[in-house]
């Protein structure tokens, strides 16, 4: 199975996402990104809500934590300003839950990179949307 995925470091001039020789147009890409963003926000809500309760989740929502949840850098920054060292633990449970939803293996012993983990999940989500 061969897939090539255009991303920030892609050499594809139109930054398209390709499945074999078939490029994905920007409308499909937008739909896939919107779908991934929705999955991610739901996962963050569920993971934080289950760990710290729904009162905490509501406070975090009011503070705008979930406004740009699909922007991993921004989310990471906000999470660190609120939770300090605990942010990394929350990110791990978010990624663990996200991987479970998408059927990606999660290894809690492996080195953890939130941004890379989200990028992998996004690519799997895009490929799955192409197969539907």
């Amino acid at each position: 199975m061969a897939a090539r995925i255009g991303g920030p470091s892609s050499t594809n001039p139109h930054d398209t996402f390709e499945w074999g020789s078939e490029p994905v147009d920007s409308a499909k890409r937008f739909t896939a990104e919107t779908a991934f963003s929705a999955v991610l926000v739901n996962t963050v809500r569920e993971a934080v809500g289950n760990a710290l309760g729904h009162n905490v989740l509501e406070i975090l929502t009011m503070k705008g934590l979930l406004d740009e949840a699909s922007n991993s850098r921004e989310f990471d920054r906000k999470l660190h300003s609120l939770f300090g060292n605990g942010a990394a633990v929350l990110e791990r449970i978010v990624v663990k839950d996200l991987n479970r939803r998408l059927g990606i293996r999660y290894d809690s012993e492996a080195r953890f990179d939130y941004e890379k983990s989200l990028e992998t999940a996004k690519q799997v989500c895009f490929v799955e949307s192409r197969l539907k």
Binding site: L52, N55, V56, I59, K63, K78, L82, V89, I93
Partner: protein, 98 residues
């Protein structure tokens, strides 16, 4: 213990967060440490210290049933602990300063 200290204790490790998720998803759960460890895909040796910290915090309680020592969520204490965390987070700006 301040809300910030409580939050640090709750999120001190991935295992502790897994335990929180497990008990909040299953608030009526009563099981041995060994059973709890298996439910989160770990061994009792690796979860012992984290269960101990949550027992010390009062979020979990321990009692003997027959020959087994079991652990369960103290729902009233859990509500109280999460309330203190919520009150602490209310005071923090997302930019970082209180």
């Amino acid at each position: 213990m301040s809300g910030g200290d409580v939050l640090s204790t709750l999120l001190a490790s991935e295992i502790r967060a897994d335990l929180l998720v497990l008990f909040h998803r299953n608030p009526g759960l009563i099981d041995t440490v060994d059973g709890i460890a298996r439910r989160i895909g770990r061994t009792s040796i690796t979860v012992n210290a984290d269960v101990g910290e949550l027992l010390q915090l009062g979020l979990l309680k321990q009692k003997r049933i027959g020959a087994s020592e079991v652990v369960y969520l103290d729902r009233a204490k859990d509500r109280q602990i999460l309330e203190s965390v919520a009150n602490h987070l209310k005071t923090i700006n997302i930019g970082g300063e209180k």
